[in-house]
């Protein structure tokens, strides 16, 4: 039978071997397995920095999966913000590491070396966080935009170059002046004798010491003046609202003066008379307050055994002197405690 069907057997064996090898290649290259030993997770990014299909996924540096699908999301309807996402990557990850991929895991996009390939690095999560479930969507960490940084850096360099270009003459003159000063100094020192040079050295040393002492003194002064400076600052703070009110008052007076300017002459004279009377009254009041103040001080000093009747008499006499008429009867007073009855 073997001889009769040797052709079929040989051909069948060869084809079977080729099919088996083909299956092995598919398994090795594509990780295709009949048993689902992997699960899928979706990660969203705004910028993927060179990630492609098949990019490896690593957990703590060990390859545990790869990127199997990349989807572009529709553009946002609101103004762009840092939280925008434009890409959705599907990661196929081995089930054996599912317990380490948790809600607090971070999904970074790293590069292996300077010219190495890109890969997605998953940082292991902590036990309190729940595991990421299959087909769950998480937000990844966008890689830094070196192109933007370079572009902004180029912008800064451009501005600096522009400034230097604009001030080129000034810089050139300053440089020339510095060079001239250096040349003069060099010429000067070359013409000086050794004694003069030593004298110059001593002068510079003294100047250096003086600056050190001044530094100490000013430091001490600043330290001693601190309370005074604090008081001044407090006064300024307290004076600020008063000054603001005064400013408003001056503004109102200015408006009033403007309006007064437009009044007819007879009205102006009338208002002028009113102001004169107000001023007179204010000065009378001022005198009265001053005299009352002196009087209360005298009373306080000289009459420590005052009682109520004595106080009434004193006040009545004071008011009579001032020309203020009072009715007969008791003068009701409000006194402080311990100051007579």
């Amino acid at each position: 039978m073997l001889k009769e069907y040797s052709t079929e057997i040989k051909v069948g064996a060869l084809v079977f071997a080729a099919l088996a090898l083909g299956g092995v290649f598919l398994w090795l290259l594509g990780d295709y397995t009949p048993i689902g030993r992997t699960y899928n997770v979706y990660v969203e990014y705004n910028f993927a920095g060179g990630v492609e299909l098949g990019t490896p996924v690593r957990l703590s540096g060990i390859k545990v999966g790869k990127v199997t699908h990349i989807e572009f999301l529709p553009p946002p309807k609101t103004a762009p913000s840092d939280k925008d996402v434009s890409l959705k990557l599907k990661l196929n990850i081995s089930r054996t590491v599912r317990h380490r991929v948790r809600a607090d895991s971070k999904f970074f996009i790293n590069q292996a070396g300077i010219i190495g390939e890109r890969y997605i690095e998953i940082t292991p999560g902590t036990a309190p966080s729940p595991e990421i479930q299959p087909f769950q969507v998480v937000r990844g960490t966008d890689p830094p935009r070196f192109d933007q940084m370079i572009s902004q850096g180029m912008g800064v360099f451009g501005d600096v170059a522009e400034i230097l270009e604009k001030n080129r003459d000034g810089i050139q003159k300053a440089t020339e002046a510095l060079m001239q000063a250096a040349e003069l100094l060099s010429e000067l020192t070359s013409k000086m004798s050794s004694e003069d040079i030593n004298t110059l050295r001593r002068m510079l040393r003294r100047a250096d010491n003086i600056t050190e002492d001044l530094e100490i003194i000013t430091h001490q002064l600043r330290w001693d003046l601190r309370p005074t400076l604090a008081d001044i600052r407090r006064l300024v703070r307290e004076a600020t609202p008063v000054l603001r009110r005064a400013n408003r008052l001056l503004t109102d007076l200015e408006d009033m003066a403007r309006k007064l300017r437009d009044l007819p002459e007879d009205k102006k004279k009338e208002i002028s008379k009113i102001f004169e009377r107000m001023t007179e009254t204010a000065s009378q009041l001022q005198d009265m307050i001053a005299r009352l103040d002196a009087f209360t001080a005298m009373v306080q000093d000289q009459y420590s055994d005052l009682d109520r009747i004595k106080i009434e008499k004193i006040i009545r006499r004071f008011l009579q002197e001032e020309g203020v008429r009072i009715n007969v009867g008791e003068v009701k007073l409000r006194t402080r405690e311990g100051f007579g009855k």
């Binding site: 060869l14 080729a18 090898l21 290649f25 598919l26 098949g54």
Partner: protein, 265 residues
């Protein structure tokens, strides 16, 4: 007519003859291909004859393919290691580059060239011998279409066996690549490095190219076999032409298929 004019006329004559001859041959091959595909789906299906051809084309060619591709894998790995060390001072990525080359070219073009030289010569010699001994005419007299009887089984066997030989060649070449970089990589890291540079799409590229090569070689060989004339010398010429033009066709098809497979740019 002056000598110069005769020379130029002769040049144009040869050029015209060559072009017309090429077009005539191409037309004939395409016609034969069309007829083969037509009769492929038409009974009777000569399964036993097809299996016999599979044994001749595939099983008997396997040792040659394995030896050749083993050496190709070894040489490629050695060259890659040397060149990578020279350029970037590390040969770590040599399995990846070797894997790409094996998948893209070695498993198809090299296997195809070996296939053409062995199988194409055999088919052309066999059919050519039948042609000059008038066995083909006898088939016609027996109302058996020569294309249906001779070409279709070889065509089917060629397609199937070329796929098989491509896979076998790929496997043995990768194995020898690994053997010649065992000091740098263990088996798993070797596979991992190959995987970084290749994907399942590359395997389908291998199968696609093998399909077209397996179609081209039997058709071209049978065409020249049917054209054999004048005894043993005619058979020899037919065999030579079959091998040469089969290999040329494989190279051109490889170029066209590589360009069409999203590999350029």
């Amino acid at each position: 007519m002056s000598a110069d004019l005769k020379f130029h006329m002769g040049f144009l004559l040869a050029l015209g003859k060559g072009v017309l001859g090429a077009l005539h041959t191409a037309g004939g091959i395409v016609t034969l291909l069309w007829q083969t595909v037509f009769y492929f789906f038409k009974p009777p299906y000569r399964v036993r004859e097809t299996l016999k051809q599979m044994k001749v084309i595939g099983v008997d060619t396997t040792p040659l393919i394995l030896i050749v591709l083993a050496f190709v894998g070894a040489v490629v790995m050695m060259e890659l290691r040397y060149q990578l060390m020279r350029l970037i001072h590390t040969a770590e990525w040599s399995p990846g580059f070797a894997g790409i080359f094996m998948f893209r070219e070695a498993a198809t073009a090299v296997v195809g060239a070996m296939f053409a030289s062995r199988v194409g010569a055999g088919i052309a010699a066999e059919v050519g011998s039948m042609q000059i001994t008038e066995q083909v005419d006898a088939l016609k007299l027996l109302r058996t279409n020569p294309v249906h009887y001779l070409v279709v089984p070889r065509f089917a066997a060629g397609i199937v066996m070329m796929e098989v030989l491509a896979i076998m060649g790929l496997a043995i070449s990768l194995l020898f690549c690994y053997l010649f970089c065992m000091d740098l990589h263990n088996f798993l890291s070797f596979i991992d490095m190959v995987k970084r540079f290749t994907d399942p799409g590359d395997l389908f590229v291998v199968l696609k190219k093998a399909f077209f090569f397996g179609m081209a070689v039997p058709i071209i060989s049978c065409y020249y076999g049917f054209k054999a004339q004048g005894g043993a010398q005619g058979v020899g010429m037919a065999t030579t032409k079959a091998v040469v033009y089969s290999i040329l066709t494989i190279i051109i098809l490889d170029f066209l298929l590589t360009g069409s497979a999203k590999m350029v740019g």
